[in-house]
């Protein structure tokens, strides 16, 4: 009798329930959490579900002997500041861990300064040290394009790039690298360093949030801190978002977080400024007054907050 071309599944495993498989890994929980806790980001969430599906199938195929190789999992997250790249990378680490593609599930977040040294012979040990810390988990390189400085041909960044490329290729079992940054600059970076492009399996683009999404994010952030807007405060914050977006250094959800910090401070000061007792309601409510005092509403604002 001829050997079957593909190995047969283990006894009792002629048919596989992918949904059960997914449930067993508890990845579905992370995906649902992602849906619940992150506002908007529909295309990102879809892509992550697709990647998770691919990995679940890959897991099953490996178990059945259809494939043996570790798939390439390095990714690039592109988008403007504050669009949730770091936050999603943390969840991605959790997903990869639950699916068994990384052994620990931690995320080490670095920028150029953590990888590149100041003098000859400094870069390699620095980069290797970071790689060691990330092994078993995910290495998140924020604004990765700063590694590459073509204007200076002796730039030490090149050394870090070469070590990274080597590890991304040879130690796929040991760590997953996620590059993050602005889409256009990242594109230029990958074009100048084609080695990365071929080693990155998944590109995910993070769109800017709409005003309504930023409002929802703001309300969610406040709620987690046991605050809320009153009607006037909410209306004022909607105006704030619209105005803030047009000003320099707008950073999507991060700008919202910073704005809320300021507003909480103004609220506290408002209570101190008025004599008398405060109620529980006073302590938890952000009003129009707290919002509208922001410099963002001042036409000739130079320093937004």
């Amino acid at each position: 009798m001829a050997e079957p071309l593909t190995p047969v599944p283990a006894p009792g495993e002629t048919a596989i329930d992918l949904h059960k498989e997914l449930a067993e890994t508890q990845v579905a929980e992370v995906l649902d959490e992602l849906d619940r806790e992150l506002v908007g980001l529909a295309p990102v969430k879809t892509r992550i579900r697709e990647i998770a599906a691919l990995l679940v199938v890959d897991r099953v195929r490996r178990r059945m002997g259809l494939t043996a190789e570790t798939p390439t999992l390095h990714m690039s997250f592109t988008g403007n500041p504050g669009t949730g790249k770091t936050t999603v990378a943390l969840r991605m680490a959790e997903i990869l861990y639950k699916l068994g593609y990384i052994r620990r599930g931690h995320l080490v977040s670095v920028t150029r300064d953590d990888l590149v040294g100041q003098y000859i012979g400094h870069t390699a040990p620095k980069t290797k040290e970071v790689l060691k810390k990330a092994m078993g988990g995910v290495l998140f390189i924020d604004e990765a394009y700063y590694l590459y400085r073509p204007e200076n041909e002796r730039d030490y960044g090149q050394e870090a790039i070469e070590i990274l490329l080597q590890v991304m290729e040879n130690q796929r079992d040991d760590l997953v690298v996620i590059f993050a940054g602005y889409a256009d600059r990242m594109d230029k970076f990958f074009r100048a360093n084609p080695g990365f492009r071929s080693r990155i399996a998944h590109h995910i683009d993070f769109p800017d949030y709409t005003d309504a999404e930023l409002m929802a994010i703001g309300e969610m952030m406040l709620k987690s801190l046991s605050y809320h807007f009153d009607a006037g405060g909410a209306a004022a914050f909607r105006d704030y978002i619209a105005a803030r977006r047009k000003q320099p250094h707008f950073a999507n959800a991060r700008s919202i977080r910073n704005a809320l910090d300021r507003m909480r401070m103004r609220q506290a000061n408002r209570h101190f400024a008025h004599p008398g007792l405060v109620t529980l309601d006073d302590l938890t409510t952000i009003t129009a007054e707290d919002v509208r005092a922001s410099r963002v509403f001042n036409q000739d604002a130079t320093k937004p907050d």
């Binding site: 052994r103 620990r104 931690h106 790689l131 060691k132 810390k133 092994m135 078993g136 988990g137 079992d173």
Partner: protein, 136 residues
Amino acid sequence: MRVTQGCFSFLPDLTDADIRTQVQYCIDKGWAVNIEFTDDPHPRNTYWEMWSLPAFDVKDAAPIMLELDACRKVHGGRKYIRLSGFDSTHGWESVRISFLVGRPQEEPGFILTRNEGGGQAIQYTLQARPLPGASA
């Protein structure tokens, strides 16, 4: 002469899979794992040479195993190599585990010298025999 010292020393030599498991155990306990080597396996020799830096802050055994491989490329089969787990927590601040992960192909063992002192006194000294190929 097969030198025994540290943990597991009366077991057969650990396989790489065994070593990896022990290293992960140390890491999970929060200990910093060090790689050391020497050509003087005297039990009272505390001055082993370090290979690379102590690995603080790693979460996984992989980087230790990579360094161990690198160390073996240079010293494997020629020197004694050991791993140790250092616990830096207050009150411990010392090595909690230490075990051999490499030994020379040929282990010449120790030599016992007898020194006759004043009167009838005899002093015994144990010294590691030089390893084959050792320069000193």
